[in-house]
Symmetry: C2
Subunit: 230 residues, 2 copies
DNA sequence: ACGTGTTTGTGATAGCGGTCACAAGCTCGT
DNA sequence: ACGAGCTTGTGACCGCTATCACAAACACGT
């Protein structure tokens, strides 16, 4: 089992476990944790936790649980968080600025190392301690700063072109915040974060809840009338 | 088929189709579109598009394609975008401010109707044309503004409590940007957007790519040496 | 040394989601 | 009126994911 490739779904949960483990280690100073406790903290099923961790190897002790320090080390290593990952951010609008200032990135070795835009009004200004550069300088900056990850916070119509420039500059990992579909070669990883889509999904289920509530209400009234009639 | 419940995966893709269809209607003024073209624009498989749309009912014409206007109407209706959805945003930090200013929200009937915080330095200030209110005023604001959706952009340790306050105020849909696991009752929809997790997932695959490249390189050298030796 | 209680690791199973392939059905030209 | 050429709608299949259930293995008290 421990030599099989790690499933995507598991990879997506490892950061959640990592966070929970850091909490246990730093805040509470505990040494071991059971799959049940970890599952509770991560908001998932205990069996899922065990199966996920088993892909990393068998680092638990039956009857005891998992050694927190060791697990932290293994997950950190597996996620590649032992090195730091300089990132380039293209598109210095509201969202781009917020991300440039965002502390959450720098936490785990992610560091926004360069900012890019194409607007002459923005290029040259300083944001979050970095000088905004023109997108044309991307290649040099990537080489110079050792940039590995590209983040897109441009308007939608520019997203595809920026992605292509990122790929052209040698980046293989892209995080897209622009509300647009971006196509890249299969050897490039791309993940999207789309606020508007998330809201629309919530809207769908919210509407369904309201429709069900309305139907239940109508039914209740109808039955009430029938009851008083009978 | 058209009366079966719509799968979650399909719901998550409807907004993508919607965007593509708006593009086709507004930018190019087309009347019909084939599943293949729509699939290309949405970055998915054509069969998947057809199956997804078939859940809404059979609105296509064989040999021709789908009527864009009609499809737009159906998807809009199904996603509940015919009404607008006022949202509350709690946590006025960098990210909260950026979202408050973000234009992408207001596009499809989503409107940030109230901002909340607990910090006295922030409460009372004006952000994006709205006065930041204290979280204690949540209930009144929800009733007053007809708020349906809660957005969490607080630091992680405050996320769970804010979520509970949202639920307590009657909200059934929550979007969580805080890097923390939030548990709510099963009748409440919660979706999370976690920038740090996305980066860690990218990091995992990036590292694997580098490891594979390194192994390939080592192998090439080894074979080269063996070749010259033999 | 041994039994009891606990927790892991994993085979088995069920369900969901993606893809293929093709029949059904439409339009249009002749 | 009819055949050619498309495109939809969907049954069938396959792989991935989640969950269950239980044997294996450990610690600890006596």
């Amino acid at each position: 089992m421990r030599n099989r490739p790690i499933p995507e779904a598991t990879v997506a949960r490892l950061p959640v476990y990592l966070r929970a483990l850091l909490d246990l280690a730093e805040e509470r100073g505990l040494l071991t944790v059971s799959s049940e406790e970890l599952a509770r903290m991560a908001g998932v099923n205990a069996a899922k936790v065990r199966k996920d961790l088993s892909y990393l190897g068998s680092y638990g002790t039956r009857g005891v649980g998992y050694d927190i320090e060791y697990l932290l080390y293994q997950i950190t290593r597996e996620l590649g968080l032992t090195q730091d990952w300089p990132a380039a951010l293209a598109g210095i609008g509201n969202l781009g600025r917020a991300l440039a200032y965002y502390k959450g990135f720098s936490e785990r070795g992610f560091r926004i190392a360069a900012l890019f835009d194409v607007d002459d009004e923005v290029v040259g200004t300083e944001v979050a301690g970095l000088q905004v550069r023109h997108l044309d300088e991307l290649k040099e900056a990537v080489a110079q700063e050792g940039i590995c990850i590209g983040i897109i916070t441009t308007p939608p119509h520019a997203a595809q072109e920026v992605a292509e420039r990122f790929v052209d500059a040698g980046l293989k990992s892209i995080l897209n915040f622009a509300p647009a579909v971006v196509n890249v070669a299969p050897d490039v990883s791309i993940r999207k974060v789309d606020l508007s889509i998330e809201l629309q999904i919530l809207s769908f289920y919210q509407q369904r809840k309201q429709a069900i509530a309305a139907a239940r209400e109508a039914n209740r009234r109808l039955e009430g009338r029938l009851g008083s009639d009978g």
